[in-house]
């Protein structure tokens, strides 16, 4: 079990709020790139596949940079 954990945990103590935002910016960058390649808007699946993400996960990540009140910026502190 310790090994499974260690394997998952190379990301150390990176906070979700920051890294999910990074993911979201990557999604937007890939979208722009694919737009040029395809000559049309890529779908969420196409973008997510290139980033090795699930489309559902990508949809949630995009939330981190679109909303004024973000689920990634908690108000509890």
């Amino acid at each position: 079990a310790g090994e499974i954990k260690r394997f998952l945990r190379d990301d150390g103590m990176v906070k979700v709020s920051r890294s999910v935002k990074e993911q979201a910016f990557k999604i937007l960058a890939v979208q722009e790139q694919m737009k040029k390649e395809l000559g049309r808007d890529p779908t969420i699946q196409e973008v997510a596949t290139r980033l090795e993400m699930e489309p559902e996960e990508a949809a949630v990540a995009l939330e981190s940079i679109r909303s004024p009140v973000s689920i990634f910026e908690p108000v509890n502190d």
Binding site: I27, Q31, L38, D41, A59, V60, E63, R66, V69
Partner: protein, 150 residues
């Protein structure tokens, strides 16, 4: 494709973003473009915000329901509250109409829903709660591919 989900969230403003994320993750199953996804999230978000702010006046106790349905290439959402309801739905749907000008609301919530979705239906009555139904057809991925080669 065929799918269904039901979500209940506490009526606190923090859950507007959560509801938007859930609606986005659900709609993502139909493989929309990022723009279509943003449209859907924005429309659902306006309905959820209305349920929380107007329907329940942010009491933080009652639950807002969000039903999602996928049938073929259509995604539909129903946003339901058991709150104060709307007296005059036609008036409420008018652009810029708001009953809470003091809250710096824009009065554009229903207009946003109508703009970004293909259909919006509002069922409401004073003290009977409010149900907002909306749907959007997503161009199937196959269709999209075909039009690539036109």
């Amino acid at each position: 494709m065929k799918n269904e989900m039901r979500l209940e969230i506490l009526s606190i403003s923090e859950n507007e973003a959560f509801a938007r994320a859930v609606a986005g993750a659900f709609a993502a199953q139909l493989n929309p473009t990022l723009e279509e996804l943003a449209d859907i999230k924005m429309a659902v978000s306006e309905a959820v915000t209305n349920a929380i702010i107007h329907g329940y006046e942010c009491d933080g106790k009652r639950m807002v329901e969000i039903h999602g349905v996928i049938r073929g290439s259509v995604v539909a959402f129903e946003v339901i509250d058991q709150g104060c309801g709307i007296d005059d739905v036609d008036q409420a749907r008018e652009p810029f109409y708001t009953s809470k000008p003091d809250l710096e609301r824009s009065g554009m919530g229903f207009t946003v829903m109508e703009t970004f979705m293909d259909k919006v239906e509002v069922t409401s009555g004073k003290d009977k709660g409010t149900k907002v139904f909306m749907l959007k057809a997503i161009k199937a991925a196959k269709e999209r591919e075909t039009s690539d080669h036109e």
